[in-house]
């Protein structure tokens, strides 16, 4: 019950009229970012981050996290109305959302998607409320070796779970680590990988990478596909909402399954996209009418949206408790916290309890604000997509340029952003995953620090990562994740042989 009290305190922090205003501004900006091509949760938050420096940290992080919720909602709008997934995790939403909208029911499709998102996020926030303090308390016992093991687990899960070839995932990830090492070594003060260039001494800021990779890179990809937004008009009125809400409780099982899949996959990194597909697949398997899937089945919208939002939200659990973000956007939020001098991790729950509970309370409120905003303003956002791309593209590029400049007040960062844009385009086309690269760039210094400290205490003995049950268990789990593509292949061969014999 300790949590309930703390949460009530959090509501008191979050429910000032200023913070509520920031919540609405944040969600509106977020939905806008989610619908526009070339701006997504990660780079949208990255660009807006410098604008919040003058704000009070709690208000700022409330606004930034609301941008995140808004972007999660916004992805569904383009998927359903235009068959263009605004974010990778909305791909599965297009399967049934777009056909339903084409059949003349866009209002129902959108209401279903928004409500499912809300339910998924709500379950995940509930989980965060009760699980986060426990995880944080547990993690207080962690030493450098345990922290490194958890980070190893994070990165190994990327290799094990991503659809991309494992060696491409490793390459992308390690490039992130290498870029993170550029500049001054925080432990010895030595300059690394700078080759005497003054500009490189500051190192690479991951915000620049995020803006380039997901901003310019995405615009280049969109440009290539040619742009024909052929969409349906969106109208939502109270009657449609009410009628949809009456039908939704029938899919309670899908909601529960989606939320559970989402929460589980969200805590492990890179989760939202696979979670949405997995939830869609399972819903289809259990459905009374599996043949209707792909043709505009309501359940086919409920399943992926619930899971994607549960995953997107629960990605904040490891970010807050361990300082390990589960998604690029969570990584950007983590960057924001660091800038305000708030070091995410178990100590945050002890030292800045007000802030943590204010943030968690704002997750409840932000999602309610988000649901209200999207249900009432969808037609306006749909109208934005009618603006020709030849106007939107240069404006977004200008915003990206300004965003990269404001991160460190340096022109060099703007040039870097362009370089990252080209890298993002090429990597995306060759299926090198970008998320592990960004996370490695963010976590590089802390992972390296933990690794070096652990080795220092053990005098260079690698055995420190297996020294006790806790660290050994995490490390072993990490190695299993790393080799899981090979293991599952071997398992397939063994069981296949058995079946043949």
């Amino acid at each position: 019950m300790e949590e309930i009290n703390a949460l009530m305190g959090g509501f008191a922090v979050a429910l000032t009229w200023q913070n509520v205003m920031y919540m609405f501004i944040g969600t509106i900006l977020g939905v806008l970012i989610g619908t526009l091509p070339g701006l997504g949760g990660a780079n949208g938050v990255a660009i807006l981050l410098p604008l919040t420096f003058s704000m009070e940290p709690t208000s700022a992080i409330i606004m930034l996290s609301c941008i995140y919720w808004g972007a999660l909602f916004g992805g569904a709008i383009t998927s359903i109305l235009f068959n263009i997934p605004g974010e990778p995790w909305s791909v599965a939403t297009t399967f049934d959302g777009y056909p339903m909208a084409q059949k003349g029911d866009p209002g129902t499709a959108l209401t279903t998607a928004f409500t499912s998102s809300f339910v998924g996020a709500f379950v995940a926030v509930l989980m965060i409320t009760f699980l986060a303090p426990m995880v944080a308390k547990f993690a207080l016992k962690f030493g450098p070796a345990e922290f490194f093991a958890v980070q190893l687990l994070t990165f190994c899960s990327f290799v094990g779970m991503s659809k991309e070839p494992p060696f491409k995932t490793i390459a992308a990830m390690m490039i992130g680590f290498a870029l993170a090492a550029v500049g001054m070594d925080t432990i010895t003060g030595q300059l690394r990988l700078t080759f005497g260039e003054e500009e490189l001494m500051r190192g690479f800021d991951f915000l620049i990478a995020v803006i380039g990779l997901f901003g310019l890179g995405e615009i280049l990809l969109t440009m290539e596909e040619g742009l024909a937004f052929k969409g349906t008009e969106a109208k939502i009125d109270a009657k449609v909402v009410w009628q949809t809400w009456k039908k939704l409780p029938a899919y309670w099982a899908t909601f529960i399954r989606g939320s559970l899949i989402g929460c589980w996959m969200g805590v492990t990194p890179g989760g939202a996209t696979p979670a949405s597909f997995m939830s869609y697949g399972i819903a289809k398997k259990f459905a009374k009418n599996p043949a209707g899937f792909g043709k505009g089945e309501m359940e086919g919208i409920v399943a992926p949206e619930t899971a994607a939002h549960a995953a997107g939200t629960s990605a904040l659990l490891p970010m807050l408790t361990l300082g390990i973000p589960g998604s690029p956007t969570a990584a950007v939020l983590l960057g924001g916290l660091l800038i305000w001098g708030l070091q995410p991790g178990p100590l945050l729950f002890v030292e800045k309890a007000d802030f943590v509970w204010g943030l968690i309370a704002s997750m409840y409120l932000g999602n309610i604000a988000g649901l209200i905003v999207v249900l009432t303003t969808v037609p306006y956002f749909a109208a934005i997509l009618k603006i020709p791309f030849s106007i939107i593209a240069p404006v977004i590029l200008v915003i990206c340029a300004i965003g990269s400049y404001t991160v460190g007040n340096a022109m060099f960062d703007v040039y870097l952003m362009v370089v990252f844009g080209i890298i993002g385009y090429v990597f995306k086309k060759l299926s090198y995953p970008l998320a592990p690269m960004v996370l490695a760039l963010v976590l590089g210094d802390t992972a390296e620090g933990a690794f070096r400290q652990a080795l220092l205490t053990s005098q260079g003995d690698m055995g420190v990562f297996f020294a006790n049950g806790l660290v050994g268990g995490i490390t072993a789990l990490a190695l299993i994740m790393l080799f899981s593509p090979i293991l599952s292949k071997l398992w397939g061969m063994v069981s296949g042989k058995k079946a043949a014999a």
Binding site: I170, R192, M223, I391, L397, Q453, L456
Partner: protein, 168 residues
Amino acid sequence: MQDNHNNEGGAISQKSAEIVTAIIITLFGAIVMWDSNRIGAGWGSDGPESGSFPFYVGLLIVISGIVTTISAFRADSKELGDFVEHEQLRMVMAVLIPSIVYVAVIGFTGIYVASAIFIIAFMMWQGKFSAIKSILVAVPVNVFLFFMFEVWFTIPLPKGPLEAMFGY
């Protein structure tokens, strides 16, 4: 950027793009290893030396780069298809080249003037909008940005001669 393989509208084949990228990645890894080795990648008096962590990072990049290069060489180029078609490449360059020019111009004119010119040029050239319409979009957008950053949020952005005329 890369050598052209002209076959059925494909400007660059997927196979050559895979190979070139993987080789560049391998070289990048090798540079990381070389520089880390230079500053010391062993065990110093105060624990692992500065270069040791990046050294192994570089090693992993080289290994995955080589594996990717080999598997790209062994892949069937017909099955892989094109990396980009000519038309697609043209569209991509139509955004990329103006963006590079835009970013380069910022240093001379400041960000607001460069942005306005960029939006006008892009709209007229890519969107076939009239000059008046383009100006009507570009100028208000940049005036808004100017007030937002310089006045409301007081975050100074690069400025040039025009802003200096107004006393900023």
